[in-house]
């Protein structure tokens, strides 16, 4: 449908001057809609419809392999909030999210700060930052899964034995499994976030650093007093993205172990895996939909909290600190 429309759209802009061309003006008025239509058609088919359908389905008992949906009201939600596995999955999502996101963003910030200085082969370092992000997540996870193998021959255990420590059954332990997964996540996203920070830093005026240097600020002081305030909107942006990413975490833990169970004790079963297990291993689409809806609500809530906290802080800051340092960050 969208294929033949561009001809209207092309004739559109030429016509407005000649009054009587009615069809042309319709074309002109509809042109923007036509241009954005492909996105919205695709969004409607693969974004909005599944979303609404999921919400609808969450009020039904619907088995993957058989039968028609049967309305059961809020029963799926009642079940969900009484399910210990759900709370376990939520908690794991939270802990893995924290141990993956916090070090990741701190490291990204540090790396970006270093990359922002003039140094030799700077572009090489900058480009190599993005390499993990460009690597296939599945391939990388499988490699990490063999690094964190339970056997004494796994690379991580070899390193531990060099340090004189006992080999660890990485996937079996609660924290070891979570840490291993967090390392995969951190490895994958640190460079990406570093580049975002770097872009943010380059919009901070060089003169701020120069005047700070004249005032006797060393690099650490420059980082704390110039870079960080200037980066506040960027940091907020990455925190929001990471929060969403952590809530949707799936590939790494899913491939790290063997299936959606997330270890014998569910020690790394994050909420997306629980949803997957419910839908495709156990085959209860209604319940899985209820999980999806609750997760969506949680993501929105978390983002709002994050945004709220961050905007509170940015509003407070400019007054006491004044000077040029905060303006870049504060006003945006």
């Amino acid at each position: 449908m969208a294929v033949d429309t561009p001809t209207h759209a092309l004739t559109g802009p030429a016509t407005p001057r000649s009054r009587p061309a009615r069809r042309g003006s319709v074309g002109a008025r509809s042109a923007p809609y036509v241009f954005i239509a492909p996105f919205f058609i695709l969004f409607g088919a693969f974004g909005l419809f599944p979303l609404l359908y999921t919400v609808w389905l969450s009020f039904f008992e619907y088995r993957l392999a058989s039968g028609d949906p049967e309305f059961i009201g809020l029963e799926n939600y009642a079940w969900l909030f009484g399910s210990p596995s759900f709370y376990n999955a939520l908690w794991k999502t939270f802990t893995i999210g924290i141990i993956a996101t916090v070090p990741q963003l701190c490291m990204a910030l540090g790396l970006a700060h270093l990359l922002n200085y003039n140094m030799r082969v700077r572009n090489f370092f900058r480009i190599s930052m993005i390499m993990p992000y460009a690597t296939s997540l599945v391939a990388a996870t499988l490699v990490f899964a063999s690094i964190f193998s339970n056997s004494p021959g796994g690379l991580a255990n070899v390193v531990l034995s060099l340090l004189g420590m006992e080999p660890i059954a990485w996937t079996a332990g609660n924290w070891t499994a979570q840490i291993a997964i967090a390392i995969i996540v951190t490895w994958h996203w640190t460079g990406y976030n570093a580049l975002i920070y770097l872009a943010g830093m380059q919009s901070i005026g060089q003169e701020l650093y120069e005047s700070a240097a004249i005032d006797g600020a060393n690099r650490w002081n420059q980082f704390v007093n110039v870079t960080l305030p200037g980066l506040r909107p960027t940091i907020l942006f990455t925190i929001i993205l990471s929060t969403i990413g952590a809530t949707q975490l799936f590939t790494e833990p899913f491939l790290f172990g063997n299936g959606a169970g997330g270890g014998a004790l569910g020690q790394y079963q994050v909420v997306a895996m629980y949803m997957y297990e419910m839908a495709f291993d156990i085959g209860r689409l209604g319940r899985a939909s209820a999980i999806a809806v609750v997760v969506l609500a949680l993501v929105i809530l978390l983002v709002l909290i994050n945004a709220g906290l961050a905007s509170l802080r940015t509003r407070e800051r400019p007054l006491p600190k004044t000077k040029t340092t905060t303006t870049t960050g504060g006003t945006r």
């Binding site: 392999a65 596995s85 193998s149 056997s151 059954a169 299936g259 014998a264 297990e277 291993d281």
Partner: protein, 444 residues
């Protein structure tokens, strides 16, 4: 049960590489002139052999790749030149099942022949009986005969038979003869069957092995659980179709036995079908493994040529028999080529075809007649073990276990807790309670 389903998938002798004809079976309708789709209740006539017809097949785990390797598809083409078979196959049954159920739900995109795994059979016969063709109504009928366990699983309450049996997974125990010899233990099937006379002696020989070698005896407690439960008349459900796993005489005792073995350190604490498990088959990190017939192909592939002659096959003690896995060919009711598809499916599952396949080193047959014909088949990889004899005896001795809709989830919850006992030192009783809680949460 995702873990097991992945490979339980049919005697996938050559699991790794699957020839996939890239023809998707969507949109089969297409108005092919065959008019016999009509009257629902009546029996289906023989297909019109003068019209060219294309039969689309959706399958998994190398079922059709094996048919092709055994030359059966070529044979069929010679007999019926008007028929073209196009199959598309995925490796993992899990993925296959998810897409099949989506197609069934939406009512479009089904092929003329769909493969079904036995763990799905209860669901198919109880909840999808109106979606599949009763093979008794076809011109070829149910001429192919199967042992009760195989036939019973795909028969509905009303007696409708919804598929032809392809392969089966009778149980045995596979062992590393070289490792046993190193440990100074009996290392041939003959000697072993003298010392291993029941489960207790299987475990006590295991303890001797662990003491002598310092290495684990079996791969995983979950595999042992599978083995122990496969020989019992009832697993998770009773004949009335009620779930009885919480209280029956199979699940809990088998769990306790397997958990004890795991807690005593007889197992390698590996998760079955995981990468470390594959590797361990090659390196010999464990000495024995519960061994359904299709596991032979898996072992050959993972352990590799260098271990040829290092493995042996031991029949279960006391003449016990059990089954793990196997598949069927079924025809969706709306298939426009049902008559031609039925003829093909019946051919592929006939005694001659299944025998030919087993002799080619591929899937183990489930056809009763074929089971008689394979008695003297041996396998050089497994020290010329009389695998034909061992597995057909085992298959005949296998009980006709009632299957249930949630077998997969139940097995997964229980075996997951066995891993918890092995790897996380959870006390067995606590682990069992936790499995029951999970199940209440998931399927209750």
């Amino acid at each position: 049960m995702s873990i097991f389903d992945k490979r339980r998938a049919a005697g996938t002798a050559a699991a790794g590489l699957v020839a996939v004809s890239l023809l998707l079976s969507a949109c089969t309708g297409g108005g092919s002139g065959t008019p016999e789709a009509g009257s629902p209740a009546s029996t289906l006539g023989p297909p019109d052999e003068s019209q060219p017809v294309t039969i689309n097949v959706d399958s998994f785990g190398g079922i059709f790749a094996n048919f092709e390797k055994a030359g059966l598809l070529d044979d069929y083409k010679k007999l019926h030149p008007n028929v073209t078979v196009k199959y598309s196959e995925v490796q993992q049954e899990d993925d296959y099942w998810t897409s099949l159920t989506t197609k069934l739900n939406s009512g479009t995109g089904l092929a003329d022949i769909q493969a079904l795994e036995i763990s799905r059979a209860a669901l198919v016969t109880q909840q999808q009986q109106d979606k599949w063709l009763d093979i008794r109504t076809t011109a070829v009928g149910d001429a192919n005969k199967y042992p009760p366990a195989k036939q019973g699983a795909i028969t509905t309450e009303d007696g409708a038979v919804l598929g032809w049996g392809t392969d089966a997974g009778p149980m045995a125990i596979c062992y590393r003869s070289d490792k046993l010899e190193e440990a100074g233990l009996p290392s041939t099937t003959e000697e072993l069957s003298k010392v291993i006379t029941d489960w207790d002696t299987y475990e006590s020989v295991g303890k001797q092995y662990v003491d002598a070698s310092g290495e684990p005896w079996m791969d995983a407690a979950s595999g042992y659980y599978r083995l122990l439960t496969s020989v019992q008349p009832e697993r998770n459900y009773n004949a009335e179709g009620e779930p009885t796993y919480a209280t029956n005489g199979t699940a809990r005792p088998s769990f306790d036995r397997a958990a004890r073995v795991g807690a005593e350190g007889l197992t390698a604490k590996l998760e079955q079908f995981s990468q470390p498990w594959n590797t361990a088959m090659n390196t010999g990190d464990f000495a024995t493994i519960a061994c359904p017939a299709w596991m032979l192909g898996y072992i050959k592939q993972q352990a590799g040529e260098e271990n040829s002659g290092n493995w042996g096959v031991l029949p279960l003690p006391q003449g016990l028999g059990g089954n793990w896995g196997g598949s069927y060919l079924a025809i969706p009711k709306d298939s426009p080529n049902a008559a031609a598809a039925a003829q093909l499916a019946a051919f592929l599952t006939s005694a001659e075809s299944e025998t030919k396949e087993f002799e080619a080193g591929l899937a183990f047959p489930s056809n009763s007649e074929s089971l008689e014909q394979i008695a003297d088949v041996t396998d050089p990889y497994f020290n010329d073990a009389p695998i034909g004899q061992i597995f057909s005896d085992g298959f005949r001795a296998a009980p006709d276990q009632p299957l249930g809709v949630d077998d997969g989830a139940i097995d997964q919850a229980i075996t997951q807790q066995l891993t918890a006992v092995e790897s996380n030192n959870v006390p067995p009783a606590e682990a069992w309670d936790s499995a029951m809680r999970t199940l209440e949460d998931q399927i209750g």
